[in-house]
Amino acid sequence: MSSTTAEREVSYLEAISQALDEEMAHDERVFLMGEDIGMYGGAFKITEGFLKKYGEWRVLDTPLSESGFVGAAIGAAIMGLRPVVEMQFADFISCAFDQITEVAAKNHYRWGAAVPMVIRAPFGGGVHGGPFHSECPEGWFFHSPGLKLVAPSTPYDAKGLLKAAIRDPNPVIYFEHKFLYRRIKSSLPKEDFVVPLGKADVKRVGNDISVITYGAMVHLALEAAQTLANEGIDLEVVDLRTLMPLDKEAIYSSVRKTSKAILLHEDNKTGGIGAEIAALVAEDCFDCLDGPIIRIAPPDTPVPFSTPLEESFLPKTSDIVTAARKLAAY
């Protein structure tokens, strides 16, 4: 990240809010729909003040109907608007699954009409949300051709990726991590910028082991890297940022350098994005591997509520440290 103008520090949540505000200000086609986003300002207050600023036809409080308002967003997008819809929690996206995977994803392929829309999905655990307010549903959509998926880990990426998503002519699901909302801050450039879709970012350059990850897990990997640095194990942390289309070149170039790969995510293990990356690395980088590919991900259970259960469920820094030590021995 190159920041020319020093600004006050902006949280991940504020970065999302800024991106929406700036895109709405500069493009009158952009409008918002979702539950409680207008008068209430959104469950997480991301759209606080937007109703007053943009009016009730650009900030629409909807009935409780994810399938209905996602479908309406598709119709409006086909007609040339740029809807950004909010899932109050990513978990509720299951109600709109059919509209997203059958209608939005296939529309351009079937009959050539682009669907430029963004679905914001606050996802992830660590906030004691339990089985219906903590999910990481990206795996469901990773398997549906026609959708773009992004999952930023920093305020810079959160802002730049959301702007890029809004300007993209395709349906984009924007997975914003609730745990990061108020915990991660940084200063952002004053001028307009985007983070292009489809480009991963090396958040820490290292030589020994590649940790390929996204979302809140990026910060866990960076923490583990500090611990391991004291032991002489040099982690490279690759933040995917965009999950679809996947930046295969960035993955391959890191693994070719380190010859060892850990795939880390918060979605449960079986059939997750890590499984796909493991297969890709095995197919295309087999010759350069010096050790087994290791996946670190939660078990195949719903996200539990109670603190000890959720702590046990979520990947921990120590899991990465243990895996890295094992790999370093090869």
């Binding site: 040339g80 509209q99 059958e102 209608v103 351009h108 392929y109 079937r110």
Partner: protein, 334 residues
């Protein structure tokens, strides 16, 4: 339909034009069915046989820049919007010259330039889209309307409810319609809903509804006009129940033995083409000679379409990869 009302409300040429489209729809779909029976069409064939008046009537009532989110038995709407018999047959034969270039089959056609959304097999999925297109018109302050439909079975789905509710709350310029042909595949109405008329559902959304004789093209046209006027005036959505009967199986492979023969015999007498001919005669707008001219005209057009479609190339295998993602926004005037 009362002849005096039709004489007053519908122009002679408009009614004649609707009759032509009824006949073109019937001739085209009969030809498609024949091709299917010869094994020349690989996928399913779902026709509007006996229900042609619905799409012909409502599509004739719309203006050119209005949007249609069709039901899968709305062939007349495609024809009225300028899809040629050749393009449509190419679509059924999986040819590259069809509107989806072989990516999708049969009536799953759409084209933004002609204001028709592609049909989605998941019935009622198109209704939230219809509401959304109407929302775009409302946001931009345009005087355009959307017609979105499903069948009697589709009205049991959640997307029907969510679309109707949202459109009513926001008073969107959309007209929802139901092609009530009494069977959803093999399931009769009595197993689909516990109400006597589908239109009863409209009350729950605070939306006016109307029962219309779906086999009377003039009645469909005039009901559609009333709903369109209401939508354009900013008074919100209307729900139209077009009562009709599915005269063929769900698709052409289905002999539909579950439908009582007497019911079909009864509805055969109410055939929309017979009804239209009777009306044209009573009004002095047509006679056997003019009907015969239409017979010959639609036959020529259908045969020209078959020739075009059969001579068209199939897509090449590698084209499977094209178009998953859009590289640019929809560029034509929206």
């Amino acid at each position: 339909m009362d002849v005096a009302v039709v004489a007053k409300e519908i122009k002679r040429d408009d009614l004649r034009q609707m009759y032509y489209y009824l006949r073109l729809t019937r001739a085209l779909e009969d030809r498609i069915t024949a091709l299917y029976r010869q094994g020349r069409i690989v996928g399913g064939v779902y026709t509007s046989h006996g229900m042609e008046a619905i799409a012909v009537g409502y599509a004739s009532a719309l203006e050119r820049d209005d949007i249609i989110a069709p039901f899968h038995r709305d062939m007349g709407a495609f024809l009225i919007r300028g899809f040629t018999t050749g393009e449509i047959l190419a679509q059924y034969l999986g040819k590259r010259t069809g509107p989806t270039k072989g990516k999708d089959g049969n009536v799953h056609m759409g084209d933004l330039k002609r204001g028709v959304f592609g049909f989605v097999s998941h019935l009622a999925d198109n209704l939230p889209l219809a509401a959304g297109a109407a929302l775009a018109f409302k946001i931009r302050g345009e005087s355009r309307v959307v017609f979105g439909g499903t069948g009697d079975g589709g009205t049991s789905r959640g997307d029907f409810h969510e679309a109707m509710n949202f459109a009513a709350v926001r008073k969107l310029p959309v007209v929802f319609f139901c092609n009530n042909n009494q069977y959803a595949y093999s399931t009769p109405l009595r197993l689909q809903m516990a109400i006597p008329n589908v239109v009863d559902r409209a009350k729950a959304y605070g939306m006016p509804g109307e029962i219309v004789d779906g086999n009377d093209v003039a009645a469909v046209y005039l009901a559609a006009k009333r709903a369109i006027v209401r939508a354009r005036a900013g008074d919100g959505p209307t729900f139209l129940e077009f009562k009709t009967m599915r005269m063929h199986g769900h698709s052409e492979h289905d002999p539909a033995k579950y439908v009582p023969r007497e019911l079909l015999e009864e509805w055969k007498k109410k055939d929309p083409i017979l009804k239209a001919e009777l009306l044209l005669k009573e009004l002095g707008y047509g006679d056997e000679v003019s009907f015969q001219e239409v017979t010959e005209r639609v036959k020529r057009e259908v045969e020209a379409g078959v020739e075009f479609a059969e001579q068209s190339p199939l897509p090449e295998g590698p084209e499977v990869l094209e178009g998953v993602f859009a590289t640019e926004a929809n560029s034509h005037p929206l």
